[in-house]
Symmetry: C2
Subunit: 370 residues, 2 copies
């Protein structure tokens, strides 16, 4: 697996990431299909239609709910969900650590209880690797400790240090050649820890590198500060992945600071709440003013939802709690982001990314939805 850096504009990078299941043009937004399915009824057939390049699934859910052994028996996640393009799995760390009262951390790993059925589970770096190797994604993530937002310096340092030791164990435990293991930079919201962690992970000859522990509750300026601080410390000629980030604004801000890869559940979560991305800001479809609005959600969007259905009808579906509402809104929001990323890749190639970014944000923030 190999990353080609094709072009830069400032810190913004236009690249091409070759994986076992095909090429990923970067910058890229990755769809989140938690339990091998995109929430909001978007099928892998639809993913092909909207030109999704990478599907991301959650190791925690696949392990605890579906069973990674079963997925392996069935020929791996690609075959299980009928998706023959690249897949990324996270390490399970983020989900495990969010079970604040249900988990116990030791040097060895993390013991936790499934909040659904109370069953005990244990994940260590070795087990995370074993699970992710069974699932068979193209890109797998190191098992890390994501310190909670607002934690003190000592906790942040401890989490970072254990993340580094666990990273070494992940590297040792990994046996499959056709999977790329991405180390994760932690360090919470402390400059020196972030620098230390970026240096530590960069020392490893990995296919790509991730920044974890951001977009966990901090404001945008703080997030941008830490992306700006960390991204340039990670190898320039490798893909950099900013985990859990994905509003149109965040994508532009991240790319400007040298990020190649993003993922976020927000586009489909917002969709389920009736919120649609548009070039003029987010449109909440439930508003009364759309009752008589026969226009599309976004006149400039070429997706089939905007081509076929009016705001009036989409509002009706949302108010009636028809699941068709989730499906159409999810489809639109994902299409919108993938299309935006295509435009961004073109803009970087043509040296007009900064212009694109400024104009997009100006209009997006003005929020003059007509």
């Amino acid at each position: 697996m190999k990353y080609e850096l094709l072009k830069t504009e400032g810190l913004a990078k236009r690249g091409r990431f070759h994986t076992v299941h095909g090429v990923i043009e970067t910058p890229v937004f990755m769809n989140v299909g938690t339990v091998a399915a995109i929430k909001g009824a978007v099928s892998t057939d639809d993913l092909r239609e909207i030109k999704c390049q990478v599907e991301l699934s959650n190791t925690y859910h696949l392990h605890v709910r579906t069973g990674d052994k079963l997925i392996k028996e069935l020929g791996g996640l690609h075959r299980f969900m009928n998706w023959d393009r690249p897949i990324l799995t996270d390490s399970g760390g983020f989900q495990v650590f969010s079970l604040a009262h249900l988990r116990k951390i030791t040097e060895e790993g993390v013991e936790f209880r499934d909040p659904k059925d109370g069953k005990k589970h244990f994940i260590s770096p070795e087990i995370s690797m074993e699970i992710q190797q069974a699932i068979g994604a193209d890109i797998i993530m190191a098992f890390d400790w994501c310190a909670p937002y607002g934690c003190d310096y000592d906790t942040a340092k401890q989490a970072m240090e254990i993340t580094h030791r666990w990273l070494d164990r992940c590297i040792k435990a990994k046996t499959r050649e056709n999977q790329a293991l991405f180390p994760i930079c932690q360090g919470a919201f402390y400059d020196d820890l972030r620098k230390e962690s970026a240096a530590y992970v960069s020392d490893i000859d990995a296919v790509g590198y991730a920044i974890g522990g951001l977009s966990v509750g901090e404001d945008k300026e703080t997030m941008n500060h830490f992306v700006e601080l960390t991204a340039p410390l990670l190898p320039h000629n490798k893909p950099r992945y900013l985990m859990g980030v994905g509003t149109p604004e965040d994508l532009l801000d991240g790319i400007k600071r040298g990020i190649d890869m993003f993922d976020c559940v927000l586009p489909t979560r917002n969709a389920r709440n009736g919120s649609y991305f548009t070039h003029d800001g987010n449109l909440s479809i439930k508003q009364e003013r759309f009752i008589h609005d026969f226009g599309p959600v976004d006149k400039e969007c070429n997706c089939k939802v905007c081509g076929n259905y009016s705001r009036s009808y989409l509002r009706h579906l949302f108010k009636e709690q028809e699941i068709l509402s989730c499906m159409l809104a999810s489809y639109h929001n994902l299409y919108f982001l993938h299309n935006m990323m295509k435009e961004i890749r073109n803009a970087i190639e043509e040296n007009r990314f900064e212009e694109y970014r400024t104009e997009f944000l100006k209009r997006y923030h003005a929020g003059n939805i007509k």
Copy 2:
């Protein structure tokens, strides 16, 4: 609007029904999109894909929830839901009468309370026509009184007689030329009443005729008896519509007895419960034995669900309560029925419907799902 009878085999009819929004090849199964949306996240885009010919919506829901005045303002239901092919609306009668404790019937019409918000509404034959004319379907139904299953003779007779008087008022109230009004034969489960009602409605020069009040709790033999008794009494050279009926078996039984049109919520309701139609009977996807089953739901089905997803994956989606499960199962079940109806139309044309019916049912009832 005109019906051409192309071919018969016994009582089975192969016809072509010309409507303002295009031709309906009969026999036909009509999709139910209660509130201008098919439950289970099947879009009108999908309906075109699965070759649905007629979409059916419920006057009661569109009136009480969406507002027929709004639909009219927005250019009618076709435009509202982006469906340019034929639409049928029921009269609202069935839903109103099912609100047993919330309605008051007089000669004038029915007063009822919306169970969702307690608001008072009133529907009469004239109001039903007004609403259905505002919605703008191609086929509209007379406002009838569907007597409850198991009712005594006097109630059945009273319901039938009021249905006939209301039918006369519907005919008088109808003003739009481009809509076909179908009278409904009632009479519950009494031979003489059914005969009397069939004679009454047949005396009217309508575009098509419906049989109501069946499939309300009776066994299949009873239903078949009353279809057999009633259908031949309705004009042979006009479409006959058996309301609320739509399992594969019921379709075959109805067609054999001279029915042209069917509708039912069952294919999508079953789908939401994880039940898939197959040539070998209904397949309940939740079964443990499908965990390791990488085959399609039905090997002989050409729909995209059977083409793309395994039983194992579909079972997983159902167990995880992903709404993608509803969507894929609904898509398959509707595709299955539309495809079956196409095969039936071909079979009648080639004089082998009875053979098709026997073989289909033999295999379907054997239920040897491999």
